[in-house]
Symmetry: C2
Subunit: 295 residues, 2 copies
């Protein structure tokens, strides 16, 4: 495994590999790797000749009052984990090279960036789209892997790659959870013991939503109200949002049909956690049930 | 010579060529080719194994009141010119493929896009940066060629490519002029006979500026005043701007030193023309002159 810090070196080394017809699987990360990241790396390992993991805590996706400085860094541990998981190259650039003095260019996916997490984190997804566009240009992967936990990010990056005609595949892999259901996140380590316990409520609320929708509840507001009241039973939480949106355009849906994303962001003390589930077409299921009955 | 309309085909065909280690020179155009374009194509021809010209009148770089609809289209003539000049591929996509329904992603080079032409054409350079980023992702050229006539565009695209780590060289070639000095432009055909005659004043004003700066004039405001009064002698002109700016960051300079761009945009009737000259460091010349005297 090779650790590459320079942008130019990364481009030159990977171009050589491309000329040898090696396929490149790419997992962009901010480090502090957990089992969720490793599941992406393992998938990339299975599907490609070469696996590149980038580790870069991207300053431009953090608001001025957010946790850029205290975001967990664990480079040595990350390196060991990457080695173990069969990574070929770690791209580990520094911020001065990625955003030199007089840096001016930003990629923005309009509309999709302003809702859900974008509302309370203005500029966040512009920062995400920009760094990912840059990384795609540096690594030029055949396939890039993202986690479903960051659902809005995944939708935005897919749209960005498609819109900008970046020739690669994007795969979004299922959220990996702790035994009690809490979605894996590098930010979970911020939680104190009590908050950690209470955080389980997020997945409970999502599962409950899935359940009642499966049982025929179609009114989004009612589902959201149920989830919110469940979550508020925990002390010291502050709901940022609980939303049910169209899976592709992220617009709120009133009546649940087709594919929807049930997504939430909740603060436990100072820690903001997000989670979501995708719910497949209820209407179609009902229709096929009817069809079955007819037969 | 092959004409490619589909984005996917272009990517597949050119990827194959890249695997054969062919270098690709790329000239993005909006068609209505003139000698200025041909000079870029010839240079690309000299320096690369393959030459790709794109012809696409990019809707997103035109304001709602601008000349998108009447912008000259001359595809058949363009094809003949490309053939004659040794082009290998014309990329000729349609707007629906380039900007499908629900298109949302834009590339913006901040600051540089808001001054000079950006002031009276809000959104123009965002449209330019976006289409060029898309074209770079489709063609993946080794070198792309632009004309100095669109000086601000050239600065913005260089910055964009650098900032987004797009691995290619950008070459900016000198403005090609008519015999009387008018900069070649697809928009020159809009001019009626009288306007065409009067339009010569732009290059006259730029040459005069160069001359008086060479003779030691360093105060930008004085140079601009001289140019403006010269241009205003023509009837029916409306000056959009006459500016002297830093060659790299496009910020106005008060005292002319280092490398500056003297740029202007002027309307003749309904036709807006732009032109510019680069003026190399006056200060350094004076210093080296002094040094020579000392010796």
């Amino acid at each position: 495994m090779k650790i590459i810090k320079s942008i130019k070196n990364a481009q030159q080394i990977l171009e050589k590999e491309k000329f040898k017809r090696k396929t490149i699987g790419f997992v962009p990360t901010m480090g502090a790797l957990h089992i969720g990241h490793l599941s992406l790396i393992r998938r990339a390992r299975k599907e490609n000749d070469l696996v590149v993991v980038s580790i870069f805590v991207n300053p431009v996706q953090f608001g001025s009052k957010e946790d850029f400085k205290k975001y967990p860094r664990a480079f040595k541990k990350d390196v060991l984990l990457c080695k173990k998981t069969g990574v070929d190259f770690i791209f580990y650039p520094n911020a001065k090279d990625m955003y030199p003095k007089d840096y001016k260019t930003y990629v923005n996916v309009e509309d999709l960036s302003d809702c859900l997490c974008g509302k309370s984190r203005p500029g966040h997804f512009k920062g995400v789209a920009t760094i990912v566009a840059k990384l795609f240009n540096i690594i030029r992967p055949d396939t890039a892997y993202f986690g479903q936990k960051d659902a809005q990010q995944a939708v935005i990056i897919k749209k960005m790659a498609q819109n900008l005609n970046i020739p690669l595949k994007i795969k979004v892999m299922p959220t990996v959870r702790e035994k009690d259901g809490l979605a894996m996140s590098s930010r979970n380590i911020y939680l104190n013991a009590e908050e950690r316990k209470e955080a389980v409520v997020l997945y409970k609320a999502l599962k409950k939503a899935k359940e009642i929708i499966a049982h025929g509840k179609k009114n989004s507001q009612e589902v959201i109200a149920m989830m919110s009241s469940l979550i508020k039973q925990s002390r010291a939480v502050k709901i940022d949002y609980v939303s049910i949106v169209d899976f592709e355009n992220l617009k709120p849906v009133k009546i649940i049909k087709n594919r929807v994303l049930v997504a939430l962001a909740v603060r436990f003390g100072k820690t903001r956690l997000i989670d979501n589930v995708i719910i497949e077409s209820v209407k179609l299921k009902t229709q096929s049930a009817k069809l079955k009955l007819k037969v």
